[in-house]
Symmetry: C2
Subunit: 66 residues, 2 copies
């Protein structure tokens, strides 16, 4: 299990938190959004997922990973 | 048909727009959110709905009508 913290732009409310956390859950990762710091902490199995897939899941929801 | 424009706090993104517009539609009103001006323009039938019901529908979504 690996944990990374990504900086993500455009997250503004609890709906955004839900969208991102749900999208990560869907691909088998566990995400925790902190709106105040524009951060998403993601835990995932490196043998099953890549960081690129994590970023893509977030970007598909309409947010920019910086 | 009556149209009022309400000032609403806490609307920050397209998810918020969707929540509010859907909630208004559900009670039989038509809402149009303008994020830039924190405004919600609502058209409704005065014989079927009151302004209080309109405000309650918005507040139930977690936003403050000011």
């Amino acid at each position: 299990m690996k944990t990374v913290t990504l900086q993500v732009q455009g997250m503004s409310c609890q709906h955004c938190v839900h969208s991102i956390e749900s999208a990560l859950k869907e691909i088998g990762a566990a995400g925790k959004v902190d709106l105040a710091s524009n951060a998403v902490e993601v835990s995932f199995d490196e043998n099953r997922l890549s960081l690129e897939q994590i970023k893509a899941a977030i970007e598909e929801q309409g947010y920019d990973v910086v």
